[in-house]
């Protein structure tokens, strides 16, 4: 598998795998009322059971794309298909049940008086009776490890706790796809790694596909199955992390910086005259490579 660069002049991007495709964004554009371009000719898809990372610099359109995924914004051009149905036709009113969005700022998301009320909000709107909704909420809170916060006021939580609760609020609705906008930007390493585990858990335990917008490439490298590079409102290249992050030119093109691990490995290879074909992207993998044997701790194939 190699990195796919998208032809910026292609008028369409046909679905590549109809069976597994949950979301298909077909050359969608969105211009904000004041004329600034949010996304432009954006092509993007999400398959069943995968973690996709959207990586790009500030203002590249990551958040705008995410708000399209559950119909909060609709494209002014192009089309978006969720579960095989077009969202622009207007017949899709329950999109929010299928695609859950965790916003960039958790403050925006928590509005109910208590944590429990907030997490129950989605399930209640789905028509669950109160008791059932409460059970769903508790389950979600436990899954994110925030069950002890249940009776707190959202206003008095720390940044990390707010983030966990807002994820629980979406999780409680059991969507098919969960999109998270910069979930770790203001978290300390311990909270961040908790969220990181949660992401892989979501995929493995609940079979939820996860979309993550981030500009932390080290983070993306650690958890993504596929990385999409976003620039000027469109995905211009994508591939598995081990390929994308080893394409220095591509990363520079995207206005990003090569992850530290990659830099270390490449220099190391240059130094010892080794051909750099192992492509480690996580610390564990790099260490395994340094030990001169492939790392087997995770299930990802290193090409």
């Amino acid at each position: 598998m190699t990195v796919i660069r998208r032809d910026p002049h292609a008028p369409h991007c046909p679905p590549i795998d109809r069976e597994r495709e949950l979301i298909h964004v077909d050359c969608a554009s969105h211009t904000y009322p004041d004329g600034s371009v949010g996304i432009h000719d954006m092509c993007f898809f999400v398959l069943k059971n995968e973690i996709v990372a959207l990586c790009g610099p500030n203002g590249s359109g990551k958040s705008t794309l995410i708000e399209h995924l559950n119909g909060l914004l609709t494209p002014s051009e192009g089309d978006i298909w969720v579960n095989g149905r077009s969202i622009t036709s207007g017949e899709q009113t329950d999109l929010w049940k299928e695609v859950g969005v965790v916003f960039q700022r958790s403050d925006d998301q928590l509005f109910a008086p208590t944590v429990l009320d907030d997490v129950m909000f989605g399930p209640l709107n789905m028509g669950m009776p109160v008791e059932e909704a409460k059970a769903a909420a508790m389950e979600a809170l436990e899954a994110v490890g925030a069950a002890d916060l249940v009776h707190k006021l959202p206003n008095y939580l720390s940044g990390g706790q707010k983030r966990l609760v807002s994820i629980a609020g979406i999780l409680a609705m059991k969507p098919k796809v969960m999109a998270l906008d910069e979930p770790t930007s203001d978290l300390d390493p311990v909270h961040a790694s908790r969220i990181e585990h949660l992401m892989t858990d979501l995929k493995e335990r609940f079979s939820i596909s996860v979309v993550i917008a981030t500009h932390d490439l080290d983070f993306a490298a650690r958890i993504a199955d596929r990385v999409c590079l976003v620039k000027n409102g469109s995905v211009f290249a994508e591939g598995i992390p081990a390929e994308v992050f080893y394409d220095a030119e591509l990363i520079a093109d995207a206005g990003l910086k090569v992850p530290q691990i990659v830099r270390v490995y490449l220099e190391y290879c240059g130094l010892h005259g080794i051909e750099p074909h192992e492509h480690p992207i996580r610390v564990e993998e790099l260490l395994a490579v340094l030990r001169n044997k492939p790392y087997r701790g995770n299930k990802r194939n290193l090409v």
């Binding site: 008086p113 208590t114 009776h151 707190k152 006021l153 206003n155 008095y156």
Partner: protein
């Protein structure tokens, strides 16, 4: 919500001047009170600015009941900031509204008078009721409803006194016409009282210090 939704050209020049003058006098009194009291508290100014912005932002939201209702929350501003600053805030909101065409420039005087009435009544009733009931919801909702009723009375009074240019009906006939508007306004006022009640209850739970209460270590 008791706004005179009259656009420019409805009142004659004399009455435009009269209501503007009255409003300027009230604003002048507020400014005098603010400046003479101790040193101007710069924190209060920042908060007033944010209240203005919040109230204006909230006005832009259309609540999907009765086919879409907009709330002004003027009484809430009174409850939160008190009469003096509240008067300045409603003046600014009226200027901003006029700028986007919601109410005429010449109506700012009259509208400000109506809103200042709401602010005054709601804020004083809210603190008075504090002696009678502990329920923030009851206090806020009652104060709001009373404020809006008084605002409506002032509004009707202003229209009756000044008359609408070109309308040749007698005051009684005008009153009959206005009563329908007052009825609708009162229905919305009931909704606004409810919303304000919720808002204040919520504030009491989360930030009692904003309402001048003591923070009692809630749910940490």
């Amino acid at each position: 919500m008791a706004h005179i939704h009259l656009e420019d050209g409805s009142f004659s020049l004399v009455w435009v001047i009269v209501w503007w003058t009255a409003a300027i006098i009230l604003i002048g009194i507020s400014l005098y009170l603010l400046r003479s009291g101790k040193k101007t508290d710069s924190r209060k100014i920042t908060i007033a600015a944010f209240c203005t912005a919040a109230a204006f932002a909230i006005f832009q939201v259309s609540i999907p009941v009765f086919g879409g209702v907009h709330l002004n929350l003027t009484p809430l501003i009174g409850i939160l900031t008190g009469p003096a600053i509240g008067s300045l805030v409603v003046l600014i909101i009226n200027i901003l509204s006029a700028a986007i065409g919601h109410g005429g420039w010449s109506m700012i005087g009259a509208n400000t008078l109506v809103n200042i009435t709401e602010v005054l009544v709601a804020s004083s009733l809210f603190s008075l009721l504090g002696k009678i009931t502990q329920s923030p919801f009851a206090r806020a909702a009652t104060a709001t409803f009373a404020g809006l009723v008084c605002g409506n009375i002032v509004m009707v009074g202003i229209i009756l006194v000044s008359g609408v240019q070109g309308v040749t009906q007698s005051p009684t006939q005008i009153l009959a016409g206005l009563s329908l508007i007052v009825a609708i306004n009162l229905a919305v006022a009931a909704l606004e009282a409810m919303v304000t009640g919720f808002v204040v209850t919520f504030l009491y739970r989360v930030r009692p210090d904003i309402l001048g209460g003591k923070q009692e270590n809630p749910g940490r």
